[in-house]
């Protein structure tokens, strides 16, 4: 039997690692309830906050403004699925693999570890997209949100580049988490609400102030969300005062972030492998 070439080997590794995440959705259908209906509960709660502040007998302008804010919440809630997937199924994944004893198998296998992380990312994106799209569609339908899709190609470009940047970040974190050991669990937990806050998952990020928003742009969701919201609610009723940068500029920055995170992921994996060989205790469980 001839050995597969480098590219073929890594493509097969990538597809092999993506497979369980892609096929898992058809084997265990309970996700339809747990991962689409339940997230809608918290999205609905945030929607009602904006409705609670609505003055009695609102005029059409006010209703347009609230429609935009409700849309912001639904889009943010949809992005939440991706961020949680990045944290718990990408960043924490190598740590879990170590705990269940798979990491040494990955380390011994002949493929690139980047192919392994790439497979996790591709599978994660697919798995989460099915959930996120369902949440988005149901959210738009239930809350009667009026979207204006003026530039669908740009929307798709922003969406996919945001995902690549987010999962690139997750790939980088995956290696770093292994070094943190037991802290990893708390680190992921720590990056939920604070990131929802900094990236403006439920409100326009510019409300944080320009300086904070620029700092928060290191997290790809910040710019991705702002660009998507601008493209889906071009006439939002409150004008452009809550828009950050132009969607085109945000897309350009997201492309840079995606490239940087992928390179950093490769470097941190290399560092991890060196450490593994030098110390020989990387795969020791319960550290």
């Amino acid at each position: 039997m001839t050995e597969p070439g480098f590219i073929r080997l890594n493509v097969r590794a990538l597809l092999g690692r993506a497979y369980p995440r892609v096929i898992g959705g058809t084997r265990e259908l309970s996700w339809i309830f747990f991962e689409t209906v339940l997230p809608l509960l918290s999205i609905a709660a945030y929607v009602f906050i904006y409705k609670a502040f609505l003055p009695p007998n609102p005029d059409q302008t006010m209703l347009d403004k609230v429609n935009a804010l409700v849309g912001y919440v639904v889009i943010g809630g949809t992005m939440t699925a991706f961020w949680l997937n990045v944290l718990w199924s990408m960043a924490s994944q190598l740590y879990w693999e170590k705990e269940v004893g798979n990491l040494q198998l990955y380390m011994m296998a002949p493929m690139s570890r980047m192919a392994l992380l790439g497979g996790m990312a591709v599978g994660g994106m697919f798995m989460t997209s099915t959930r996120a799209v369902t949440t988005l569609v149901v959210g738009v339908f239930i809350f009667g949100i009026v979207l204006t899709i003026s530039n669908p190609l740009l929307i798709l470009a922003v969406f996919f580049v945001t995902l690549i940047a987010l999962y690139g970040m997750g790939m980088m974190f995956a290696s770093l988490y292994l070094l943190y050991g037991r802290e990893a669990w708390n680190l992921s937990a720590l990056m939920e609400e604070p990131i929802f806050l900094l990236s403006g998952f439920y409100f326009p990020v510019k409300a944080l102030g320009q300086t904070v928003a620029i700092g928060a742009s290191i997290i790809p969701a910040t710019l991705g969300l702002d660009a998507l919201r601008q493209l889906m609610f071009p006439v939002s009723g409150f004008g452009t005062q809550f828009y950050f940068f132009s969607p085109e500029l945000e897309l350009a920055v997201l492309c840079v972030l995606a490239a940087v995170f992928l390179v950093l992921a490769k470097l941190s994996l290399g560092y991890l492998e060196t450490l593994a060989k030098r110390e020989g205790k990387l795969t020791t469980r319960h550290q």
Partner: protein, 284 residues
């Protein structure tokens, strides 16, 4: 036994991280959650063209206090849910704990106690932030302090009892505990008037809210910590009921859930033993 279980709970919740570091983790999360509400309220007031002084907004005070005390609900429920799952699947120690001479129900209550402690600190920090940074007006007369403490104890007992009901279910389920741990607090968050008054919900939603004890707990807490002048401005949907009636309802529902938790826990434990799945591992 309760004391040992509580200490074990603290160590496991923190995953054996440094206590100080874990405390910071535990506080930053809810405070960030409160900040999200601050920003949302700010944006809502801004587009409404009204005053953007959050401290003077009765609606903001209402949602801020509700959110601060809800930290207990999400934290304690999650703490109860995950005990069986983590001991069984992750640490694989459930068979040893189960065989030891400790009442398993008490063990879970002890594990939940560490969550109550962490939630108390997080709630206090959140409220302090609201008072000192956002100038939210909280006031309570000396005479109301014992009543407030009683309401807190009853409410927390109710939350723990609900947590134990659902912890019992995790004897029989594989991975769904995590979904329940997020879903049930989500249900309470939406229907119990936590971050908006019950009156904002559609009629059927208000009926659901009125059937849940957390609604009455939060209403009683708000009536005790918010000044009457501020509280009166919010159409809570429960204006008709007086405080004594609300506390009585809370007491009755706590007693109900406490009994239900014992019955459900014993039943699910019996079924799990019968099926031989007390210590099952499913690799979820």
């Amino acid at each position: 036994m309760f004391k040992q279980a509580a200490w074990l709970g603290w160590e496991m919740e923190s995953n054996w991280t440094e206590p100080g570091l874990f405390l910071i983790y535990s506080i930053i999360k809810p405070v960030a959650g409160a900040f999200i509400l601050v920003l949302m309220s700010f944006v809502a007031l801004f587009i409404g063209g009204g005053s953007q002084n959050l401290g003077q907004s009765a609606m903001f005070a209402y949602l801020f206090v509700g959110n601060a005390f809800f930290i207990y609900v999400s934290s304690v429920l999650f703490g109860c849910f995950q005990v069986i799952q983590s001991d069984r699947e992750w640490y694989q120690t459930i068979r040893y704990v189960y065989m030891s001479p400790i009442n398993f129900y008490t063990y879970i209550v002890g594990r939940a106690a560490s969550k109550v402690l962490i939630a108390t600190i997080a709630t206090a920090v959140t409220l302090a932030f609201g008072v000192f940074a956002l100038h939210i007006d909280l006031s309570m007369s000396l005479w109301d302090i014992p009543l407030f403490l009683a309401v807190m104890v009853i409410g927390l007992l109710c939350v723990v009892a609900i947590g134990l009901c659902l912890a019992g279910l995790s004897f029989l389920t594989a991975k769904h505990t995590h979904g329940l741990a997020e879903g049930i607090p989500g249900l309470f968050y939406l229907f119990c008037g936590v971050i908006f008054p019950l009156s904002v919900l559609p009629g059927w939603g208000q009926s659901v809210g009125r059937a849940l004890p957390i609604t009455y707990w939060l209403e009683a807490v708000r009536r005790l910590v918010l000044p009457d002048s501020l509280f009166a401005q919010v159409p809570t949907g429960l204006e008709q009921a007086d405080l004594a009636g609300i506390i009585a309802l809370l007491l009755v529902s706590t007693a109900f859930f406490f009994l239900l938790s014992i019955l459900l826990f014993r039943m699910t434990e019996y079924l799990a033993r019968k099926a031989g799945i007390i210590d099952m591992t499913t690799n979820y």
